[in-house]
C-alpha cells in the first residue's frame, strides 16, 4: 500500500509525521478541538456545518483559530491520496499559534444487520465537561465506550446526575414516543451535524420535536430509540444494558435514508 499523507498547517506531510510533542503544554492539557468528517465520492459532507462547529468549539475554550482555507487543504489531501470515500479528522491544538492537522482513515461504516436489527447500548453515569464543545477532553467518553465494548455493546449512553440520558459517547440520542421525537436541548449536549438532518427528517415524517431529555427510567418504556452521528446517520437501538427494548426499525431507517439523501445535496 502507498504511504498515507496528512495535512499539517496546510502542508502535505507523511501521516507518520503527524505527531505532537509531549513536552508542549497544550498537548499535555489537551487544549484542542476536532471534527470528524465524511468524504463521499471525493466530496466532504456538510463541511460548512462542521467548520461552524469547530469554530464554535474553539471560541468556547478561547482557542485562537486563524482563518483556514478548509476546502483547499482538504482537497489537497484528497487528491494526494486519491481518496474517494473516507472518514477525515480535523484536529486543532491551541497555543501561541494553532497547529492544524487533517488526517484520514477508511470510511467508517457499519454492517447492514446493525441497521436491520438495531444495536445494543449501555448506560454510563458521567457528565462531559463543556458539553456543547467538541474538545479532546475525551477520557469520560473513552472509558464509557470501553465499558460498553467490554459488555458486547455498540455504544454507551451518558447519564447525568439528574438521571437524564443526554447523548452517546460519539453520537446523539433520541426517543420517539406518541408521535413525538425527544432529544436533549442543545445547551446540554454536543449538537451533532447529523442531528440537524435528523430533526429535519423527523418533521418531514410528521413527528413533533421536543427538546426534552429522556429520563433513565424511561429507557425501557415503549418508545423507539436511536442514535445519530456522521458515520451512523440514524442507528436503531434494540437493547439497553442487556434488556431488549421495542423499536420501530422501519421508522428509524426512513430517517436514516433521508439523512443520507440530504448528504448529496
Amino acid at each position: 500500500m502507498n504511504q498515507k499523507h496528512a495535512i499539517k498547517n496546510g502542508r502535505l506531510i507523511l501521516e507518520e509525521n503527524a505527531t505532537v510533542p509531549v513536552t508542549q503544554r497544550e498537548v499535555q492539557s489537551n487544549f484542542s478541538v476536532y471534527e470528524a468528517l465524511r468524504v463521499i465520492d471525493r466530496h466532504v459532507v456538510h463541511l460548512d456545518d462542521h467548520i461552524a462547529r469547530l469554530n464554535s468549539s474553539a471560541s468556547q475554550i478561547g482557542l485562537n483559530l486563524p482563518p483556514v482555507p478548509w476546502q483547499e487543504w482538504i482537497d489537497r489531501l484528497i487528491r494526494r491520496d486519491r481518496l474517494s470515500d473516507a472518514t477525515m479528522r480535523i484536529l486543532v491544538y491551541g497555543g501561541l499559534s494553532a497547529t492544524v492537522f487533517i488526517t484520514w482513515e477508511s470510511l467508517l461504516t457499519y454492517p447492514d444487520n446493525f441497521y436491520e436489527k438495531g444495536v445494543d447500548v449501555t448506560t454510563y453515569h458521567g457528565e462531559r465537561f463543556l458539553p456543547t464543545c467538541k474538545t479532546s477532553n475525551l477520557l469520560l467518553s473513552y472509558l464509557a465506550l470501553n465499558d460498553a465494548h467490554s459488555k458486547g455493546a455498540f455504544e454507551a449512553l451518558l447519564v447525568d446526575r439528574q438521571n437524564q440520558v443526554l447523548e452517546g459517547t460519539r453520537s446523539n440520542f433520541y426517543m420517539i414516543r406518541d408521535n413525538t421525537l425527544y432529544s436533549a436541548p442543545d445547551e446540554l449536549i454536543l449538537s451533532g451535524v447529523t442531528r440537524i438532518s435528523v430533526l429535519r427528517a423527523a418533521k418531514e415524517l410528521g413527528l413533533t420535536v421536543s427538546f426534552t431529555p429522556v429520563r433513565l427510567d424511561e429507557l425501557w418504556s415503549s418508545g423507539t430509540m436511536f442514535l445519530s452521528s456522521t458515520s451512523m446517520a440514524a442507528m436503531p437501538i434494540s437493547a439497553v444494558d442487556g434488556r431488549t427494548v421495542p423499536c420501530d426499525i422501519p421508522l428509524v431507517l426512513k430517517i436514516r435514508d433521508l439523512v443520507r439523501l440530504w448528504e448529496a445535496e
Copy 2:
C-alpha cells in the same frame, strides 16, 4: 546549548522526538496518566510516592502499566543530560502496549517574594473528572489557570457545585483556623505527594488536621490559607479574587521549611 534528551520506553532519544501520533485513539482521547517530579542534586524526591500514585492513577482508568525500572530509566536521563536540579515529567499513554515518556525542564522555582508576601489566587467553578486520578484530562485545569493568569493571579482554586473549595489546578489547598488545618478529604481531590509532608508538618507544629473542605464563603474569613505542590512546597495565599486575606506567613513558611527538609531524607 546541548540538545536535550528524553526517555521513551527505556531508550534515550532526542527530546524533539518525544512525540505521539495524532492518529492514535489513546492520544486523541488523552488516555494517559502522568507525574511531575523534583530532581535535586541528581536525586528524585519521593520517587516511591510518585510511582505509587502513578500506578494508582493508571489502575483507576484501566491503563495497563507494565513494570518499569523507574530509578534506572530516570538515572539514565540524569546522566546523559548531566542534570543536577530539574523538574521531570513521567507521561504514560495507554493502548495495547503502554508508551512511557520521561522528559525534563529547568527546575520550576518561584521568586522569594512569592513566599514572603503570599500569592493571589482566583476561584473557578468546575469539577475534575475522576478527582483522585492524575490523568491528562486537564482542560478544566488549563482553562482555570489561564483565567487566573489573565487576572494577574498565580493559581485558581476549583470550587464544586456544593461551593466546596477543593484544590488548585496544580496544587492542594489548605486553611488553618483555630489551631486546625483543614484540607479536603482524599476521595474528593488529587492527593499530592507533598500533601503527605504538609499534613506531617502540621502535626509536628501542633495543629489538628481536619479532612473537611473549606467552603467558598469562608475564603474571606480569618483563616490562614496556602497551597502545596511538588514545586511550591507550601505557598502562602494573600489575596482571593482580588481581595486581600489575612495570612500567618511565618507559620506557612515553617511548614514549607519542614517539607523541604524532609525531601532530603
